[in-house]
């Protein structure tokens, strides 16, 4: 039962990761690309590693995996926010419909 739950969690997370990568490749603008890089990536990492925790059981490795989840859940949106703020302050204009791709 716990193996089944873990396998489904990891599969769902990997699907989120692939979707996030396609978004980074396909979106028209830096800001939308940062959106595609930050949110599906963090969610995919959390689901994948929580699935590994469920498969692994209660060991020291699970505690370290939970540490990675907590660290990335705080750090990844912070890093993307800092990049977006730097881009906005250095004068990068957001994309809008009807304009050529910057």
């Amino acid at each position: 039962m716990s193996t089944w739950v873990g396998n489904s969690l990891v599969t769902l997370g990997v699907i989120f990761l692939v979707i996030g990568s396609i978004g980074v490749l396909r979106f028209p603008d830096f800001y939308s690309r940062a959106h595609a890089a930050s949110k599906p990536d963090t969610l995919g990492l959390m689901l994948t590693i929580l699935g590994l925790v469920v498969i692994e059981g209660a060991t020291l490795s699970s505690a370290k995996l939970l540490l990675i989840v907590i660290f990335v859940a705080i750090g990844n949106p912070t890093a993307t926010h800092a990049l977006g703020r730097a881009a906005l302050r250095s004068g990068l204009k957001p994309w809008s419909r009807g304009k050529e791709e910057a």
Binding site: N7, V10, T11, G13, V14, I15, L17, V18, G20, S21, I22, V24, L25, F30, R33, A34, A37, D41, T42, G44, L45, T48, I49, L52, I55, E56, L60, S61, K64, L65, L67, I68, F71, V72, G75, N76, T78, A79, T80, A82, L83, R85, A86, A87, R89, S90, L92, E101, A102
Partner: protein, 86 residues
């Protein structure tokens, strides 16, 4: 099952290299580098799970996550123009 997961994560890791090589601005390149770093952390955990020795790979994964975060913060501080009186 772990082979399929690792193949999918490697595919998702190789796609943003296009954005790293010819992103129009330097911020696009940094976003691509961040995505590649996050997926490398997941790939390290999956490789440790496939080998059955997760504890050896986890310390490397933690260190890589911290380096990825610090790199993005430092580069964005470097790229941000000075605020205050010009």
């Amino acid at each position: 099952m772990t082979d399929l997961w690792m193949a999918a994560v490697v595919t998702a890791l190789l796609l943003p290299f296009y954005r790293v090589v010819n992103g129009p601005t330097v911020f696009d390149r940094m976003v691509g580098v961040g995505v590649v770093g996050t997926k490398t952390v997941i790939l390290l955990c999956l490789v440790g799970h496939a080998y059955g020795r997760l504890d050896m790979f986890l310390d490397i994964a933690i260190a890589y996550a911290m380096l990825n975060f610090l790199g993005a913060i430092i580069v964005s501080k470097y790229l941000e123009p000075e605020s205050g009186p010009q």
